[in-house]
């Protein structure tokens, strides 16, 4: 296959040059490789984000491509939510000539793909991987796009403190950076602002039974008034079902990964659960317009804010290629790294001065009666955000 693509590109260049000889206007092609999960545990996150990106690229292509002159060819390969498989397909995409790489919604597979793109200087963007250690673990080509875990955790902690919460129980899982670190970032901010961590518990992802952990929570001498976790599907439904089943009514807060239709469909079970999103569609906002356009494009409404985040990746790439003035991967990388106050759909996005995890607003949401209700949108104070 790779040789076929090269042939294809060679033919294209030849065509482009021959046209250029006649007129100076020339259309070029740029390949974006998407090593993303179509199947497995990450698929429910990667697929919506990728749908948003596709929509952006389709719209851009209709206007001539990135910066109006590089027609995008999006090549998608399934990583099966497997870290090793992600590296394999990333290599295939590189061989096929990808100049920009898109990686899954999780740090580990994104890092494995980044190991391959870093030496080649190919800018690499994770769809919604939010671990702040992600970019540092790879190097200067790796960019996050979603609000980082420590930023989200700070926003939730600020909110919990403002509500008067004093004592938190942290439920973590060492299985991923997200589930392991996000509640701990929360704990750091919460303690700094006068709260206390009264207990910690762990779970294994996919674990069937939380009863022992829940009995431990019930048995705590110092009763928490909040449980903070980054558990997501299918662990979060299992945890909250068994927690409420055991008669524990302590509020549970989480982060972006529980802002999904599945959790929403749990109805009364998740009443009062606070989570984060990349934005909130207020009437008349750009996000509301996006949601309408996406519904028209995909035939269904966006499931979460992963769609708009994917769409914004398309806009960021368009802006970066404009700034770079070429399709040179290194120039594109530099352009993304220097992006400042870029007007996205959800608000201003800034990379300049960060470690390539963007500064952008975080929306706080709360489930009530089977609906996600907006609480507030804020950009946490940078000095409050704990170091990764």
């Amino acid at each position: 296959m790779p040789s076929l693509y090269r042939l294809h590109r060679a033919a294209l260049y030849a065509a482009a040059f021959s046209i250029a000889a006649v007129s100076m206007a020339s259309a070029e092609e740029i390949i974006i490789g998407a090593a993303t999960a179509q199947t497995g545990v990450l698929a429910p996150y990667d697929q919506p984000a990728l749908a948003g990106l596709r929509m952006a690229l389709d719209e851009l292509n209709a206007k001539g491509g990135l910066a109006g002159k590089y027609t995008v060819k999006l090549m998608i390969k399934d990583t099966r939510s497997d870290t090793a498989q992600t590296a394999t397909v990333a290599q295939e995409l590189i061989d096929a000539g990808a100049k920009i790489m898109i990686t899954p919604c999780d740090a580990d597979p994104s890092i494995s793909a980044g190991q391959l793109t870093q030496p080649l200087g190919i800018p690499t963007l994770t769809l919604c991987g939010s671990a702040p250690v992600l970019t540092g673990a790879v190097g200067d080509v790796m960019f996050g796009t979603y609000p980082a875990d420590n930023v989200q955790a700070t926003a939730v902690a600020d909110f919990a403190v403002s509500e008067g919460k004093k004592k938190v129980f942290l439920l973590t899982s060492p299985d991923t950076t997200y589930t392991a670190n996000l509640p701990e970032y929360f704990g750091k901010v919460f303690e700094k602002k006068g709260g206390a961590i009264v207990g910690r518990g762990t779970f294994t992802m996919g674990q069937p039974d939380f009863s022992a952990e829940i009995t431990n929570i019930k048995g705590l001498a110092d009763k928490p008034d909040l449980i903070m976790t980054a558990a997501y599907e299918p662990d979060f439904p299992a945890f909250i079902q068994q927690l409420r089943g055991a008669g524990v009514t302590i509020p549970v807060y989480g982060a972006d990964a529980i802002g999904t239709p599945t959790i929403k469909a749990l109805g009364k079970l998740v009443d009062g659960v606070v989570y984060t999103a990349a934005g909130y569609a207020e009437p008349g906002s750009k996000l509301e317009a996006f949601n309408a356009a996406f519904t028209k494009y995909a035939g269904h409404a966006p499931e979460s804010t992963y769609e708009v985040n994917g769409y914004e990746i398309g806009l960021i790439l368009d802006q970066a290629v404009k700034t770079a003035g070429s399709d040179d991967p290194k120039a594109i990388r530099d352009a993304i790294a220097n992006l400042k106050d870029f007007e996205g759909i959800t608000g201003k996005i800034t990379y300049a001065g960060t470690n390539r995890m963007p500064l952008r607003p975080v929306a706080l949401m709360r489930y009530e009666g089977g609906e996600g209700k907006h609480v507030e949108t804020l950009i946490p104070d940078a000095s409050d955000v704990p170091a990764p």
Binding site: P208, D209, G247, I263, K264, A265, K268
Partner: protein
């Protein structure tokens, strides 16, 4: 606290016992570890979801879901395993993996890769108090259903002709056939029973997890396999003992390990399994006739 954890342990052990029994019944007769057993659970879970979406009352939906599991098991035998009858153990094992992978992909692409929430009736998330401690309705149902299923299975195997034939087949299949009992009927019944058990286990599993997803069968089948091996592969009492042992160890470790060591829980459980097998290589309660394999 301690009484509470014991209830947790028995509740989880009961589910593992049902799962391990489902594996053991089929293994005792045809010598196949059916790794697609977990997908029978998944299928029952989706059947429950579908029945609820179509507005069936909850008890009826559960009935439909469990029957779906049982019928799917029979269909699985008819389509995938009957053509392989007489094939080597390895071929059967690989066939079961193939069926399992195929069904997972069908669920992911045909339904959704995303877990689907299953709204359990409100009373199932309730709890009742006995003096000091509260017992959740969920774990109680779990314990009662497991106990009833185990008793019903025992009665069936002891009192009915087919049950007797199945016990005999587990000891010597050829003699049973010489007695004029059709092999296909015995095998189909074994799969039917294993499907029923998978369906029941799925209901308890889903009730605790509030969602079904395409990959949800993987963990339970793994646990059931461990329980069946510890108990003695092919031995039905062994499977039950193994299931309870595994459930109890898991809950006790989760309850007592300090947070720093807790992530190694599974490693500790599996080391325990190795220790049991070193002391009793045929399992806790070995099968009467140790399987060819």
């Amino acid at each position: 606290m301690i009484a509470q954890q014991i209830i947790n342990a028995v509740s989880l052990g009961g589910v593992y016992a049902l799962l391990a029994l489902g594996l053991a019944i089929v293994f005792s007769i045809v010598g196949l570890i059916n790794f697609a057993h977990g997908e029978l659970m998944t299928l029952s879970g989706y059947a429950l979801l579908a029945a609820l979406v179509f507005g069936l009352p909850f008890p009826l939906a559960v009935l439909v879901a469990v029957s779906c599991g049982a019928l799917a098991a029979v269909a699985m035998e008819r389509i995938a395993f009957r053509p392989m009858r007489g094939a080597s153990v390895t071929s059967l094992l690989l066939t079961s993996f193939a069926v399992s992978s195929l069904l997972k992909v069908v669920f992911q692409n045909g339904i959704s890769a995303r877990p689907q929430a299953v709204a359990m009736p409100g009373w199932m998330t309730g709890a009742f108090s006995f003096g000091d401690f509260t017992i959740g309705v969920g774990p109680s149902i779990s314990i009662v259903v497991s106990a009833l299923a185990l008793i019903a299975l025992e009665v069936f195997l002891r009192r009915s002709v087919t049950g007797t034939a199945m016990r005999a087949a587990a000891e010597d299949f050829n003699v049973v056939r010489l007695m004029g009992i059709p092999a296909s009927r015995i095998i189909a019944t074994a799969f039917l029973l294993s499907g029923l058990l998978a369906g029941l286990a799925a209901m308890l599993w889903v009730a605790q997890r509030a969602s079904v997803d395409p990959l949800m069968g993987f963990t339970p089948v793994l646990k059931a396999f461990i329980a069946a091996v510890v108990g003695g592969l092919g031995s039905l009492p062994g499977a039950v003992a193994g299931g309870f042992l595994l459930g109890i160890i898991e809950v006790l470790l989760q309850a007592t390990l300090p947070a720093a060591i807790a992530p190694y829980r599974d490693a500790i459980v599996l080391s325990g399994v190795i220790a049991v097998l070193l002391l009793r290589p045929q399992g806790l309660i070995p099968a009467v006739r140790v399987q060819r394999s």
